[in-house]
């Protein structure tokens, strides 16, 4: 973990010469430098790794070709892993390679760079408005955790009023395997799934489009370097296996889920689409925003030793604010802006990503570069911080009143859900995670 006070890539006094990077409130200032995969839109260029900076993308492969990385062997070596249609090769090289590349790119993009050199590097910039973005990594396995105690308690109290939180919750970072094939990048339309659903009073299930389609606001963490099968990852080493974070929408068909999930967990209720934001914000960029998770409630057990280190207690969390907006087709037609449905904090999670990684590998399970860990729905203690409609409308009992007069219990066709997240604190430059967006499309509208 880089020292915030010594890492020049985090120096709040530094600015980039790239347009939009120094705009107050920008997601991608010089201090962020998230990685993604792009190509120029409407071309047949090979997708490749880029870094978001202001309103542009720095083409890492083009930088290498221009020779501007030639005086930094480590960075040049890492840049060679960026001529790929996914971040997996860079992820596999581990944190040292990623940091070397980050440092070199930070120099190239800082306004201390001589003007002539800036003109050279500018040849490797592509405007974001002219780029097509791809899924940032080939996801070998997608694991979804359940790390928000507020979410688990809310959902549990709807389905098991006598025992909202199961006895294992405060001991085990509960997680389950998700579907990797249907992880898609932000902007991909989300087709309303069909499936079996059965109301409690119906004699038999029927098949048809989901009537209670929901989003789930999550943070995703991509695995960087992996571990061999049979070799657990100690908590103290867990962050060295992380690469960075994205926003993740674990779209959920609640009616399919309620009928199918016993006894083995969610399956078709989730596997039709999981959306991630395109820019992976690295652990280095997040270093100024590390903080302890919200304290455990009095009487809660301490984490078992394999899930407990002083460092994880002190700074296992990410001080990220997460926000959900909803905009219906009617709101778009009326020119109404997106409606803020909820605003929460990743510090309200009960388990840190490092704890999730250490737990995941504790049985010897091998994590691989590009594996994706979802936090589970991020909900906080108040209604306005609940990260899915199931909780936000309390299973439809408290519908959302939208500007323009519509109400929502669950998602309707044409609804656009957008997640954003940002981190800010005195003495650091604000960074953002970009957008994780999707529009719900009816099945018969699919091509």
């Amino acid at each position: 973990m880089p020292d915030t006070t010594l890492d020049p890539t985090l120096d709040p006094a530094r600015r980039s010469w790239v347009p939009g990077a120094a705009t107050p409130g920008a997601d991608f200032p010089l201090q962020n430098l998230p990685f993604g995969v792009f190509r120029r839109a409407r071309t047949h260029e090979a997708p490749r790794v880029g870094v978001a900076i202001g309103d542009a993308i720095l083409d890492v492969t083009a930088c290498a070709a221009l020779g501007v990385l030639d005086d930094d062997g480590d960075a040049l070596d890492a840049a060679r892993a960026c001529d790929a249609p996914a971040l997996n090769p860079l992820m596999a090289r581990g944190p040292a390679a990623r940091r070397a590349l980050r440092r070199a790119l930070s120099v190239l993009l800082g306004d201390e760079l001589p003007a002539g050199r800036q003109a050279l590097v500018a040849q490797a910039l592509v405007p974001q408005a002219e780029a097509e973005l791809f899924l940032p990594a080939q996801v070998g396995d997608y694991t979804d955790f359940y790390a928000s105690v507020h979410h688990a308690t809310n959902v549990g109290s709807m389905f098991r009023p006598d025992q909202p939180l199961l006895p294992n919750y405060k001991w085990v970072p509960i997680g389950y395997h998700g579907r990797a094939s249907s992880v898609v990048v932000s902007g991909t339309p989300v087709l309303r799934p069909s499936g079996q659903r059965k109301g409690p009073d119906e004699p038999a299930p029927t098949v048809g489009p989901s009537r209670s389609l929901d989003y789930e606001l999550e943070l995703g963490c991509f695995v960087g370097q992996g571990n061999p099968l049979g070799t657990p990852i100690p908590l103290a080493e867990a962050e060295a296996h992380g690469f960075g974070v994205v926003l993740l929408n674990d779209w959920s068909a609640r009616d399919l889920q309620a009928w199918e999930y016993q006894p083995l967990g969610p399956f078709l209720a989730k596997s039709f689409a999981t959306t991630v934001s395109p820019w992976v914000v690295t652990l280095e960029a997040l270093a100024p925003f590390r903080a302890p998770l919200a304290p455990r409630a009095p009487g809660d057990p301490a984490p078992l030793p394999y899930l407990d280190t002083p460092d994880d207690r002190a700074r296992g969390g990410l001080a990220l604010t997460l926000q959900v907006t909803l905009r219906t087709a009617a709101m778009r037609a009326a020119g109404l802006p997106p409606f803020v449905v909820s605003t929460g904090s990743a510090l309200d999670l009960y388990w840190s990503f490092a704890q999730m990684v250490a737990h995941h590998a504790s049985n010897g399970c091998n994590l691989r570069p590009g594996d994706l860990l979802g936090s589970g729905t991020v909900s906080g203690p108040v209604p306005e911080s609940r990260g899915c409609l199931l909780e936000r409308t309390w299973r439809g009992a408290k519908p959302l009143a939208l500007p323009g007069g519509e109400v929502r219990r669950f998602l309707e066709d044409g609804d656009e859900v957008v997640f954003t997240a940002w981190a800010e604190r005195p003495g650091a430059v604000r960074i953002g995670l970009g957008r994780c967006a999707g529009v719900v499309v009816p099945r018969d509208a699919a091509g």
Copy 2:
């Protein structure tokens, strides 16, 4: 689906000239021709696709290089997909390419082939005893179903005596996502996992090696050609998306499972290892052994329309006999043979693989070439046909008495579990699936 009576690759009168292929009881006669991935042991050769025949492996890439496929363009084209370290490229080409290759290889390996030509083809044979076998496919997603009503009822009656079978079971082919990264090929040692376990009378969980390690006898089905996200697969087309079957051991740590699995399903109890047999037996080779699944019990609902076709009712099942043997370290030391723990039938499943595929894709989930579907534990109606120790010893209440005087409730370190399976019927040549084997290794013995 090939017509058994017309497909010359299934003609029971034909024999192969390769040693071992015509031995009665052999797994790999001319009529089988399963695909796998191999290289010569103790070499650095590139792993590549081969076909098991008798005691040998036919190197498909070498056949193409020898020119013996030159008079069959379709087969030669399919053979080019075999110069790869996994079956995925061949799988992606779909059933027509696979069948073309199968027909051409059957001609090359049949004893009608002129002797001079046999000598040429023999240059492409590698003895199985001199080969190293690999995982046959790169598994994008591994889905484990729960398709044995006997298994579900037995396990349910231990954990929920008042409601052994949940209300959804007879409507929904229950399945869940498994861990793809830890799928390994037969012969890979299985490290006993550690994890949290808590007895019902213990105040808090403890962490340590699993005390109730189990196997699960399953059939696995590899997906061939995939479907695009958002496009369901009708049941009538489901088998065109299958490639072939293997034996699958879904190793399970029952104590970890009992503590962790609520509410989202098994996780670390399974993700430490899943073993598959190396030879993928194609749907073409299984054509003579198609049969209806065991009839549903009186009063059971008919499958919903999307899970019901006349063809699936008539021949959705695979008439495969499945057997589990156990051999402990003490038995090996004493020269005792493996002990047959159970023998069952894949016809005792409640759902066919075609139904599993159609259900899996019914919400638009995309399956990809190389995806692996497990049947779930294959158990039958009698104790001797129960496919895991949890059921076979009824949670340890009825321990197995082994030759040599040992007893087993669950697996001990040093135990070797071997699955085999075969199909035979009058008028067809017996075929086998080979072996799915693993030895349990204590954690401290791991390198």
